[in-house]
């Protein structure tokens, strides 16, 4: 293990690579290098090439560490590629592996990621596929057979300008993204063409992730206000529909404003609306 090498291969800015464990929840900037815990031990206080003897070396629980969004592996370290706060999640259920590290960052421009559910707008119908704009650099392609119950004879009723909720099956930087409106079992599970009325608006990606977090209160509070239908796309698009135009507009404004409001202000607004 090249401990001395580790110190001489510092980044150009002269930063010492820090242990990922100490940087949790702190803001990291692109270009910083992070050490994983096992390297941290090796490059510990000795630094002179000695590895501390371990009698129970086998119980090192940090096996496979997953490198999430905003991080990249460079050699045996993690290189930060986005600015934001560093997060870590322990693996659940005592499974092996060192958990996941990722960077929480804020942005408005969406980059297609495989498996993401997004709202797209159909821009063209050509032959057997639809071209769907998802907010990325290229329109995604959606085959007409990728709907539940679609066959060659039974085509889905999709027009140019319709809203589609689907997920990506292919999304990398080398190819045009492809999306489908069925899951792996062939069921729609909520995907497909979104209904005719309602309002579509755009928010930042961070707000979407916040709203989709399992314990998000904003949604529960909003749900108590009045009956509504809402679809969140990971590309920053939200479609909302309530009984009247007024209610829909209120919902859209609240969701957009939630980003910059404290919980306090939000509760005030909701209590005012409840009257």
């Amino acid at each position: 293990m090249a401990e001395a090498g580790g110190i001489t291969t510092e980044s150009v800015a002269g930063d010492r690579a820090r242990a990922a464990r100490t940087m949790l929840d702190q803001v990291v900037l692109p270009g910083e290098e992070l050490l994983l815990p096992e390297q941290e031990d090796a490059e510990g206080p000795g630094g002179a090439g000695e590895r501390p003897l371990r009698l129970n070396a086998g119980t090192r629980s940090r096996g496979r560490v997953v490198c999430g969004p905003g991080l990249r592996r460079s050699g045996d370290r993690l290189l930060v590629t986005k600015c934001g706060r560093l997060r870590h999640k322990e693996p659940g259920g005592g499974s092996s592996g060192g958990g996941v590290y990722w960077v929480d960052s804020q942005q408005k421009r969406y980059v297609p990621v495989k498996g993401d559910h997004v709202i797209g707008i159909v821009t063209a119908k050509s032959g057997d596929i639809f071209k769907v704009d998802v907010g990325g650099s290229e329109p995604a392609s959606l085959s007409y057979l990728a709907f539940e119950g679609a066959t060659k004879r039974n085509r889905p009723n999709v027009q140019v300008g319709d809203l589609i909720y689907g997920q990506f099956v292919v999304a990398n930087k080398d190819m045009e993204p492809e999306m489908v409106c069925i899951d792996s079992c062939g069921r729609a599970s909520g995907m497909g063409v979104i209904g005719q009325d309602g309002l579509l608006f755009k928010v930042t990606l961070g707000l979407i992730r916040k709203l989709l977090a399992p314990d998000c209160e904003i949604l529960q509070e909003v749900g108590k206000l009045y009956p509504l239908e809402i679809v969140f796309g990971m590309n920053g698009r939200i479609w909302v529909k309530a009984k009247t135009i007024q209610q829909t507009l209120i919902l859209a404004n609240i969701l957009e404003a939630c980003e910059h409001m404290t919980a306090d202000q939000r509760k005030q607004i909701f209590s005012r609306l409840a009257e």
Binding site: D25, R87, K210, E217, W239, L249, H260, T262, L273
Partner: protein, 439 residues
């Protein structure tokens, strides 16, 4: 990049909303968005914000020989540019139609109305005249570029000072700003464009359309007027048929709006003049509020909720009664106090609590939140690490986003009125580390 297409759903919703006289941001039919005018340190430089639409205007001057057929008049040159940062659809080669249309309208409004006295720009007849150049850059496109651009142009022209010149016989002396104070341009009147968007073949009209409304409109009527109710330019595009009384009504509305905007412009110019005379600080940096979230500020739009039926008792019954809290104010430096600790943010609520203590020491800048929440059982164990001096950064362009701090609805939250300071770091997301009260 191609423009994001407008879905059928949005179009239908917008048209239906307009039929019900509702706009997306809660404005009334004849309401303008908030106009904000700020000046730079140079004379003739200003930024006008109409809602989120932003235009930067800069005026400059140069001594040139006059045009052959107008030997005693100065030259005015207007140029509007759609910067690529204004909208993803604006690319260097692709914006020609819109650009030509806007430039043409601006020229007609400002040049043909003779709002600037070009005779006064003459220095030596036939040889030297002033050429005044107005450059406008669109920084952000959220609808109604023409209004914002015309306001920016006229404000920049009123704000501009050209170097003083004196002619004695054959001798022309050009004074630098240090020798003699620069003189303002001679402006007769201030023409301002007001845009009206028409929908459903002229049945509904909206003043100051924003970007979405512009996409679904049928036609646009632009009236340039000054405060003396003189129409300088009028242009209708989109091919809609307008009735005579519609146009008259629009001109009356335009008259009212132009009066308001002219007052605002005068006030802004007066403020800036006062600040410069008293030797205070001026410029763009001063015009940015330092105690608020500066980016994407949402203005309060009054929402009419009279037709929303609610069951308030149900909500009250479900909510739990607030618990008692104890507050110990801690004084950091004169003017900054802290009551209680914040609450752990529940978004990504995954880290260990022990790690927080170590992480606190790692931050080298103390950060203080806008709203400080009260907590049960205040833990003061790591107050020691906060003794570092509080540093305010010079950058006023950061946006401090409060992540969802509300984890437990039982705790009450109040906002302290003690001095609060903006997060000093330049990082986009910054939040003071909070201790989890109940461990």
């Amino acid at each position: 990049m191609k423009e994001t297409p407008l879905s059928n759903c949005e179009r239908r919703f917008l048209l239906r909303a307009i039929e019900e006289k509702k706009r997306l941001d809660g404005r009334q039919t004849y309401d303008y968005r908030n106009i904000k005018i700020s000046f730079g340190t140079d004379y003739g430089c200003c930024i006008v914000e109409l809602g989120k639409t932003r235009v930067l205007g800069q005026v400059s001057c140069e001594l040139v020989s006059p045009k052959l057929n107008r030997a005693t008049e100065g030259i005015l040159f207007f140029n509007l540019e759609l910067s690529q940062m204004a909208a993803p659809a604006f690319e260097p080669g692709r914006q020609s139609d819109l650009l030509v249309k806007l430039n043409r309208l601006l020229e007609r409004c400002l040049r043909n109305s003779k709002c600037i006295d070009t005779e006064s720009l003459c220095v030596v007849a036939g040889e030297k005249v002033w050429q005044i150049r107005v450059d406008l850059h669109l920084l952000n496109h959220d609808g109604n570029i023409i209004d914002a651009a015309s306001i920016a142009a006229i404000v920049a022209l009123c704000h501009f000072r050209r170097p003083d010149v004196s002619v004695q016989g054959d001798e022309v002396t050009l004074y630098t700003p240090e020798e003699r104070d620069p003189v303002p341009l001679s402006i007769h009147h201030m023409p301002i464009c007001v845009s009206f968007a028409f929908f459903q073949q002229g049945t509904y009209l909206l003043v100051d359309p924003n970007e979405r409304e512009e996409r679904v409109m049928d036609g646009l009527l632009v009236i340039a007027m000054n405060k003396h109710r003189e129409i300088c330019t009028i242009q209708s595009s989109g091919g809609i048929m307008l009735l005579k009384d519609q146009v008259l009504r629009c001109s009356k509305i335009a008259g009212v709006k132009v009066l308001e905007i002219t007052e605002l412009i005068q006030k802004a110019l007066e403020n800036d003049r006062k600040v410069r005379k008293e030797g205070g600080k001026y410029g763009f940096a001063e015009s940015i509020a330092s105690q608020r979230i500066t980016a994407f500020k949402m203005e309060k739009a009054p929402i009419d909720t009279s037709d929303v039926e609610e069951k308030a008792e149900e909500i009250i019954a479900e909510a739990e009664p607030p618990l008692e809290v104890v507050s110990n104010p801690v004084l950091w430096t004169p003017g900054t106090a802290q009551i209680g600790e914040g609450v752990e943010n529940s978004w990504g609520d995954l880290e260990d609590s022990e790690k927080e203590e170590e992480d606190e020491d790692g931050t080298d800048e103390a950060i203080i939140l806008d709203s400080i929440k009260m907590d049960i059982g205040v833990e003061v164990s790591n107050i020691g690490s906060q003794d570092a001096p509080i540093v305010l950064s010079d950058s006023e362009e950061e946006e401090m986003i409060i992540l969802e701090p509300d984890k437990n609805p039982k705790k009450i939250r109040t906002q302290t009125t003690s001095a609060k300071q903006e997060a000093p770091s330049k990082k986009p997301v910054r939040k003071r580390k909070k201790k989890r009260a109940a461990n």
